[in-house]
Amino acid sequence: MLRTEHLTKRFGGVTALRDVSIDLRPGEIHALCGENGAGKSTLIKLLAGVHPHGSYAGRIEVDGREARFRSTRDSAAAGIAVIYQELDFVDPLTVADNLCLGAEPRRFGVFLDRAALRARAVAALERFGARIDPDAPMGSLGVGDRQLVEIAKALARDSRILILDEPTAALAGREVDVLLATLVELRARGLACVYISHRLEEVRRLADRVTVLRDGATVATLTRAEADERTLVRHMVGRELTDLYARAPAVPGPVRLAVEGLSVADASGAVRLADVSFELRAGEVLGIGGLMGAGRSELLMHLYGAFGRRRAGRVLLDGRPLPAGGPRAALAAGLALVTEDRRRYGLVLAESIGFNLSLSALAAVARAGFLQRAAEQARNRQWLESLRIKAAGLDAVVGGLSGGNQQKVVLGRALMTGPKVVMLDEPTRGIDVGAKLEVYALVQRLTDAGCAVLLVSSELPELVGLSDRILMLNAGRVGGSFARGAATPEALMRAALGAAA
């Protein structure tokens, strides 16, 4: 029904997808598994027509004929419907309005035919027995119901191939059951479905076959019988750890950061971290692992005073409670953060390298509020060189730099404050191998100098290679804690998935 042959997709110098061939049969649920960054999203985007024909090598076939999607519309016309994690609805409109959005039935060409619209919506929802009020405002629906509406919308357009990207990531238990039951029923009617999920238990319950991707390539396609949890994890992690990440083990110093029984809720009151405790010593790297949404970034942002409300627990820096007062107080106390989303939280893109480097440490080069330009220039130049930032000069605009150089600017800004504890959130995401190695070297330099490092990374080999100890988070809780030797990728993955160790 749907087949890809030797799909290869490159972004600049990075190969996101390498020679991927999968096939999908009518009445089949085909699961895609892999670590973050394994190429699942890229594959979906090719199938959805987000990356048009011509931008990739290989073939996509629908019903035995080559499909050359130029846009998402072509893909939809071929019967493919992609249901993303983030669903776009017009919240103030009703469910029925949203179902027919863009294809509203009209009367006399101009007037909205409300009766026809509602009838069409009811029919679409009833096709798979979804119990959702078509007149309810979209915004009043929970995430699970919103997903069902999205599926109804796809069916209303006569889609025959559903692609679901981590549909259960944000769902509660009962909603998951409803969704899975819906998918099983749709399968019985001959629909084909590509199902992407980190939850191996769901995959095993649902999928007829599982394809595992790693580093953009197909590792294996397994039948349901073959796909036990252990096998899946082995295929997902797969590789041997190389010397690339090797860091000399630390000689741990005194405890720098102590987190005790920390529980944190977000602005809407939902608990994002529950009973998290750990210690971080001078000269040590503590790795924080886990899947997306496990609470890794939330942990760092909360320690930095930029996220959530503390429900319980305390945080001590050098034995003293970390002062409240947001990032300013955290920085002053010696805690620095390099955020995951550097373009949004890390940089003033329209400004120069010098502007960004200096931003957190202006006081040191100012007298009575006036900047000492010469001193500032000299300091910036020093950092530019020691971080080996490749740019025309300090005046180069940061927005024009490569990802790696941008990341070095963010690192420089954080380190210029002379922190005792450095928190790095995905410090190597989206940067090339050369820059990655420099980041690793920098981590080594920091710990040699007695800094303590808290490292969040989705790349298991990186996490294992750099960390002295690793804490795996699972749904806001500590899923497991591993010493350097004990942290096998399989064990980490199982801890992240919440499976018994």
């Binding site: 930095y304 930029a306 947001g326 990032p327 300013r328 955290a330 920085l331 002053a332 953060l337 955020t339 949004r344 939280y345 890390g346 940089l347 003033v348 893109l349 329209a350 400004e351 120069s352 502007f355 200096s358 931003l359 957190s360 202006l362 006081a363 100012a366 509020g369 006036f370 900047l371 330009r373 005046d395 800004r413 404050t417």
Partner: protein, 310 residues
């Protein structure tokens, strides 16, 4: 924020020089000390408020109430000097105090209550104008010689003390923006408030203070205005906010925040005022003046954006 370099300024300087040359060619008597004197002595209020407005707009805010606050501060000057018998110093102090208070109120309400400054200052526009009418009982106050000193051209010079004060204000404003830690914070907050907060910058206070500073400068501007006219008109400054914003935007300051230059706003004011003077001297009618002024504003902004892209 980098100090504006020659290359940042030359487009606007060229536009201004072009206008002067154009009017000089068509209007006999335009190229005279008297013309430049009359332009210079007319713009102190605009210069001072444009300086403050640039700082506010760099932080990503806007103040629509400057015209009304100018009217109110003028009314305060009138009441202080005519009804309370105060001197110029007392009037100046009262005017700055009122301006600062209203500016700070704009800043506090918009920043702390997370309301767009566009909306908050729109409300202040009405409030301040109403207060201006209330304080003067809607009557123009004739102050006379006591206030005129600032607005009268200096002996031997064609420009007034008010113009020199305004120039000092422009220089100080540019200095604050490009030479101080606070100025750096203004730019960072306006360009990317989230990143600024993560970088450990207090993102609220710079915005509040920028509004308050604009208020204070508006207070000084009101005194300059009164001294030029010898009287306080509670209707003064109706529509003034648009002139200020136009001049600042012509000077290349972004409405979205994060980018701006007081020095370039100065040139923006100069361009708008020269245009006005030239058109009157050519005898252009009111509608023609408006059409041409609007066209030049758009053209100047286009020229500046074009240069930035090139």
């Amino acid at each position: 924020m980098r100090a504006p370099r020659g290359s940042d300024l030359w487009v606007l300087l060229a536009v201004w020089a072009g206008l002067v040359a154009l009017f000089g060619a068509f209007g006999p008597g335009f190229l005279s000390a008297a013309t430049f004197g009359s332009v210079a002595n007319r713009i102190p209020a605009l210069l001072l408020t444009a300086t403050g407005m640039t700082l506010v707009m760099v932080t990503g805010g806007i103040d629509l109430s400057v015209g009304s606050v100018l009217g109110l501060c003028g009314a305060v000057v009138g009441v202080t000097m005519v009804d309370a018998g105060g001197g110029l110093a007392a009037a100046l102090a009262a005017s700055i105090a009122v301006g600062t208070a209203l500016g700070a109120a704009n800043g506090l309400v918009s920043v702390k209550l997370r309301l767009p400054s566009f909306i908050v200052t729109l409300g202040m526009l009405e409030i301040a104008r109403g207060l201006a009418f209330l304080t003067t009982h809607s009557q123009t106050k004739y102050i006379g010689a006591a206030v005129e000193g600032l607005g009268t051209p200096l002996a031997g010079l064609v420009v007034s003390p008010a113009f020199l004060i305004a120039l000092a204000g422009v220089a100080a404003g540019q200095g604050v923006l490009s030479l101080t830690v606070w100025g750096r914070h203004l730019v960072a907050v306006g360009a990317n408030a989230e990143a600024a907060a993560i970088a450990g910058i207090d993102v609220d206070r710079p915005r509040i203070w920028a509004h308050a500073l604009l208020g204070a400068l508006t207070g000084v501007a009101a005194v300059c205005n009164c001294s030029r006219l010898g009287s306080a008109d509670p209707n003064a400054g109706v529509g003034f906010e648009l002139s200020v914003i136009a001049a600042v935007v012509v000077g290349g300051t972004s409405l979205a925040g994060g980018r701006g230059s007081v020095a370039k706003s100065f040139l923006g004011v100069l361009i708008v005022a020269t245009l006005e003077a030239g058109l009157v001297q050519l005898g252009a009618s009111e509608p023609v003046k408006r059409v041409v002024t609007g066209g030049v504003i758009v053209a100047a902004v286009l020229a500046d954006t074009w240069r930035r892209r090139a």
